[in-house]
Amino acid sequence: MRRRDLLKLGALALTGACGSSTQQAGRDVPLQFMYWGSTFEQKAVDKMLKAFEQSKPGVTVKPLFTPDEYDVKLNTLVASGKVPDVGYVPMAMSFRLAEQGKLVNLFPYLSKYPQLTGYLDDAYLWYGADKLHGVATANEIELLWYSRSAVAEAGVTPPAVASSAWSWDDLIQNAYRLTVDQNGKHPDESGFDPRRVRQFGISCSITYAAAWYGFLRSNGADFADRAGTRCLLDSPEAVQVFQNLQDLIYKHRVMPGPGQLAATGDDVPGTNILLKTKRVAMVVDGHWSLLDMNESKVDYGIGVLPKYGEPYTTSQVAGASAVFAGTKHPEEAVELFAFHIDPRYVDLYKQGLWMPQERKYYEDQTAIDSWTKNDGHPPEFRTAVVDYARDHGVPDIRGRLKNLSAISADVLTPALQEIETGKRPAAEVLKEVTPKVTGLLQGWQHTQEL
């Protein structure tokens, strides 16, 4: 490929930004919708697309189902100027693509489509003043999942209301009671064999930011300062959070260490299975597990996370959805965008994979009932999830901090793994990594009220 072709490639990529046309309704409007997911999601999305086609005569939507290697495919499509009209975008890519002009600025459409203005504040993904490139596909928050029979055996009841959330000490105490080795001994009893634990009390990822970010905020700490240019992980409050997590494994021995669950970074085997087999009594994991819980018929319950000060959980833990610049039919594409996250047309809310982004689904009783009053949502869902998400959610840093995916992969995750392997105390590791993170920070993403 010669230099000219190289430029052509660049130009090709640029033209994507300038596509424009006005389309009359009633004509042939072909759209493409790119998404990932399981066969389960595939079914729901296909159904949603059919419903959209029926509601908009003349519009046809071709699904571009990409179950794996999504970022490889999307990067390739971006580079070759062959992007879809609407689709999911991995959070790491969405802000970048927006800044490059590859995603439609939805701000001007807010006045024409009032539905777009009804989402939760935290759902909106801004890339500058009055520049909106999309919303997180679904609202997802971190929860304390537990096995009902395991907690009943130990006489423990994880709270389902934020106001009565456990303190960290409560958590430890209850985790002791829930941790049993193969001889039935608890970690605080003599003869406890930490190599032969039958049931761990709790499991919470140390490397996955959404799992601990709520704790960090609850303890009055944060990942970065207000400007978003200085990392604060070496603050005493942050150190305490990570030291506490490390202590659960090595001091209290109530939480599995690396490899003990036969798990990898890919979340093998999954929270539903951990609870069903009672390998672990309580697991900190995202709301999306609900679908799996119901599918594999786990006897589960949902609680709120333990708190330090104010109770917080990480919210908006999902990828982005956006309209791609260069779509020949921006109006229809924006309509499809609104449609694909509308609980009226998508089964995934009732089935438990997604939580709505529209505010009314957390405030209006009829609206709340429309997605939670069914067999897939247990009675405590209202307080432990709906109210908890609305009043105590803090948006995931992955959708808020610039350059976080590089920071996370290159610097942060290796450091957190060191805390996880327990070779050095959290303070030492964090002190070392904080300046490195600071060196890579580029500030918070823009946010604004509607």
């Binding site: 971006v78 890519m93 490059q100 190599r195 032969r196 490397t207 490899g259 003990q260 036969a262 995750t413």
Partner: protein, 294 residues
């Protein structure tokens, strides 16, 4: 004069028969390779416009801790896994070249680990490496942390990779069919035993195949990717940050295609250099029939 006629014919046919391969390279391969070399001289984030920056990426890379980390991890892995894989595969191929009953079944069984999809393999190996209940720790009566400890992560992955000996083994097996029987008979007539037959016939006659597997093994393991991608994600603490995994992350997670291309071309040069040395060294130990013909 007949010979020079043959030479002319060989020269003409040589080019003609090489044409499809050369065309294939020029049409499908050369362009993208040159393009990536060009990208390596640009600051190009996918979605943006590439801008020429000269050798800036290469300079950045020399200062990149993770570049050195990934290069050394990968070299470690290559040095460890290639010899082990060759020896195991050769031994199994010898075993499967015996005249035994049910040979087809034995061979298929030994090839099975290569066919089992990687995800099933990964789940299995996570169990084998499990510190509490794992097979390895039960057998060794130890409490090893295997892939979960920075010190033992790479050796553990080498052990795991050995199970994938099937393809190398099959090539050896095919190679063993080409060892002329009369050579074995000659050794036997001279009163040589099986060991002598192995050293003086099998091994020398197999050198072209061994050489192939060595080169391909080195080229392949320098580009090892999958274990880090599906199993360790480069961890713990970058202990298994394989070079191509790091490159892949830069290319498709950060979309930094300019930088990734520079990484790729550095690895390219490393592999070319090592392969060149292997080929030059091969003259000393690889036995080709061609030697006689030349």
């Amino acid at each position: 004069m007949a010979l020079s006629g043959q030479k002319r014919m060989e020269r003409r046919w040589g080019w003609i028969l090489a044409v499809p391969a050369i065309l294939g390279f020029l049409i499908f391969t050369a362009g993208p390779m040159v393009a990536s070399l060009a990208f390596s001289l640009t600051d190009w984030q996918i979605g943006g416009t590439p801008s020429f920056v000269g050798v800036q990426n290469y300079q950045d890379l020399v200062r990149d801790e993770l570049f050195w980390q990934s290069l050394s991890v990968t070299t470690y892995y290559t040095l460890g896994s290639v010899p082990v894989a060759l020896i195991v595969a050769f031994a199994v191929a010898m075993l499967l070249n015996q005249r035994v009953r049910g040979l087809a079944i034995w061979r298929t069984i030994f090839y099975l680990p290569t066919l089992v999809p990687s995800i099933a393999n990964v789940v299995l190996w996570i169990w084998i490496f499990n510190p509490d209940f794992g097979l390895l720790n039960s057998l060794l009566r130890q409490h090893g942390m295997w892939i979960y400890d920075e010190g033992t992560a790479v050796p553990s992955l080498i052990i795991m990779s050995t199970w994938g000996f099937g393809n190398t083994m099959v090539i050896f097996l095919a190679g063993l069919q080409g060892v002329p029987r009369h050579l074995y008979e000659a050794v036997s007539i001279d009163g040589g035993g099986p060991l002598r037959r192995f050293w003086h016939v099998t091994l020398p006659m197999m050198t072209p195949t061994i050489f192939y597997n060595l080169v391909v093994g080195v080229v392949g393991t320098f580009q090892v990717f999958n274990q880090a991608y599906v199993m360790t994600e480069g961890g713990p603490g970058n202990a298994t940050l394989f070079y191509v995994y790091y490159l892949f992350r830069k290319a498709f997670r950060e979309s930094e295609m300019g930088y990734a291309s520079a990484l790729a071309w550095v690895l390219f040069m490393v592999i070319v250099l090592v392969t060149f040395l292997l080929f030059r060294n091969a003259r000393r130990w690889v036995y080709y029939e061609m030697a006689a013909a030349r």
